[in-house]
């Protein structure tokens, strides 16, 4: 009993709460140990690796061409961009020039992927916080993009469409029409999403001022992508270190101000609009031309020729089984994915297999900021915070 004059206090104890690995808001299998003082989070310890497949180890034992399908499986929500990063790195080692049409198609596909990935983020993030309907809207539009992927690449989820030296198959006129009709409709849908949330009081209460990080802290932690730009730090690799001809496109980098969950939401929604613009510019730039670099050593012959011509068959067989030799050396190539900087550090010893492939995946590094973001917040906020960094566990665990 409390003594006279002293206010009786509620006894609180520190408690450890395991969140995950099977938790709907972790979007995969992530375990987080939360140290709680009442409802307040005082410590966050993520445990990774539930999805570790050893992609870097497998890559060392395959030819350069065979590594490509593995990259789809890193960030399975933006497979084309993962392909692109790897291809750019190998092309740099080989000194390959990719023809212009292929470069434009790559940008179009990368931006479609960005929209598609942001839509998944949007739907699931909002669902985590408690709004049921936006995910239905988001997946309705995502389906259209996946249909375009199927038309162009033959697969919806892991297309492996961007290849070393070019892209696998040209854009048909039907596909181009489909992309145009999608682009005409999509800005209206962005308005729909915003109408549901941007001025929604519940949404604002749940997200504004939650999970704040300063630009300085974010840089120190290595954070990149929308998570960093939400603090008002202007850095997008498409602008600062352009690749695949991004320097010839006209687009803005959306910035936030406060570095909280709400600003990250605004930044990504605005990125959707910028991506629409980029794709339109890309489609207008599209001129007839080759879609593969002119380098018979690296590029397999077209399938029709393989079926009819013995020379082409042998050529195809040689590239697929033995692979092609890549000059000795090392490169680090980084590109901007929907989540941040994706870097491929490839060491080649002159053989047809990479000596070492190190993949710098954005989600992995961004997740490191979780502790900074969540400390001192309420337990209900952790779900909003994890959703706002937009992690993909395939990429975190490699």
């Amino acid at each position: 009993m409390a003594e006279a004059g002293v206010k009786p206090r509620i006894r609180t104890e520190r408690m450890t709460l395991h969140m995950g690995p099977q938790h709907p808001s972790t979007h995969g299998v992530l375990r987080v140990d939360l140290e709680l003082d009442g409802e307040v989070i005082v410590g966050v310890t993520p445990y990774l690796g539930h999805l570790h497949r050893g992609i870097e180890k497998i890559a060392e034992n395959r030819t350069f061409h065979q590594v490509l399908p593995l990259t789809d499986r890193l960030d399975y929500l933006s497979p084309m961009i993962n392909n692109l990063g790897y291809c750019l790195a190998v092309e740099k080692l080989l000194g390959l020039e990719v023809p212009e049409r292929a470069q434009v198609i790559r940008v179009i596909m990368a931006e479609l992927t960005r929209i598609q990935s942001h839509l998944v983020w949007f739907g699931t993030h909002v669902l985590d916080i408690g709004a049921m309907s936006p995910i239905m809207y988001a997946f309705r539009e995502r389906e259209q993009i996946l249909d375009i992927f199927e038309m162009v690449a033959g697969a919806r989820m892991n297309p492996t469409y961007i290849r070393i030296g070019g892209v696998n198959g040209d854009l048909t006129s039907e596909a181009i029409d489909k992309i145009w009709s999608f682009l005409e409709e999509f800005p209206r849908h962005i308005k729909e999403y915003e109408g549901l949330l941007t001025k929604n009081q519940i949404w604002i209460n749940r997200t504004k001022g939650v999970g704040v990080i300063s630009a300085e802290e974010a840089i120190n932690l290595g954070t990149t992508g929308p998570t960093l730009r939400s603090c008002g730090f202007k850095w997008d690799l498409r602008k600062t270190n352009p690749y695949s001809g991004y320097e010839t496109y006209d687009f803005e980098i959306p910035l936030g101000k406060n570095g909280d969950v709400y600003d990250r939401y605004l930044v990504r929604i605005e990125e959707l609009r910028q991506s629409v613009d980029l794709i339109k510019q890309g489609l207008n730039k599209l001129k007839p031309g080759p879609i593969y670099a002119d380098e018979a050593k690296v590029i397999p012959p077209p399938k029709e020729k393989v079926m009819t011509d013995i020379g082409a068959l042998i050529h195809h067989f040689k590239i697929m089984s033995e692979g092609f030799k890549v000059p000795e050396g090392e490169v680090y190539v980084a590109i901007e994915t929907p989540r941040g900087e994706l870097g491929y550090y490839i060491v080649s010893d002159g053989s047809s297999r990479p000596y070492r492939v190190k993949i710098r995946t954005p989600s992995f590094i961004n997740l490191e900021a979780l502790e900074t973001l969540a400390k001192g917040r309420l337990i209900a906020d952790i779900v909003a915070i994890i959703g706002s960094i937009d992690i993909v566990l395939g990429e975190v665990d490699k």
Binding site: L48, G49, H52, G54, E56, K57, I58, N61, K92, L93, E217, I219, N220, L221, G222, T223, F233, W235, T240, N241, G329, E330, V331, Y332, A334, E341, G343, Y345, V347, D349, Y355, R356, K358, R360, F364, I365, E368, D397, K398
Partner: protein
């Protein structure tokens, strides 16, 4: 322009720490600098804080196993990025098996997980790291999977109890 800036890094480093650079590798338009591993911390601190260079972003940190190819078995590679000049720089230190490298976690907080990953994959120890535990593999895992002499395939069997570790049995 590019070339000039890279010269600038080498020049400034030579001035600030004479003799620290063991080798400069320039290839594919990228610059790599090989350093003595004892010097890595102060060089990183300098590169991060120098007003002109400002390599304030550690993009990546990883190990490479050069088993039988180089004099010292491992290399730890640091990929730096400057958010001011938008240039990249690669630093490398050579490490022999069993040796450790000074940690850079007090310079970049983001190095924490990267160093943990590097240790669990290669067994390169980082001296002064605040929280060295396995990150992507299970706690009981034995061995360092990205080493070149670690088998690609094989059966792992977890011996009961936490102290037991993992027994490796090669597939027939």
């Amino acid at each position: 322009m590019n070339e000039e800036k890279e010269h600038l890094v080498v020049k400034k480093l030579e001035e600030a720490f004479p003799g620290v650079i063991k080798k400069v590798i320039r290839a594919f338009g990228e610059t790599g600098i090989v350093l003595e591993k004892e010097e890595i911390k102060k060089v990183c601190q300098y590169l991060k804080e120098d007003e002109e260079l400002r390599f304030d972003h550690l993009s990546d940190l990883c190990g490479v196993d050069y088993l039988g190819k180089k004099e010292k078995r491992f290399e730890v590679v640091y990929q730096l990025y400057s958010t001011k000049t938008h240039k990249r720089l690669r630093l490398k230190v050579e490490v022999e098996e069993g040796e450790s490298v000074p940690t850079v976690t007090d310079i970049w907080a983001g190095a924490n997980w990267l160093e943990r990953e590097c240790w669990e994959m290669f067994g390169i120890n980082f001296e002064g790291h605040p929280d060295m535990r396995r990150l992507l593999t299970i706690e009981e895992f034995g061995g360092f999977p990205l080493r070149k002499d670690f088998p690609l395939m094989g059966k792992a069997e977890i011996v009961e109890g936490r102290e037991g570790g993992v027994k490796w049995q090669k597939r027939e």
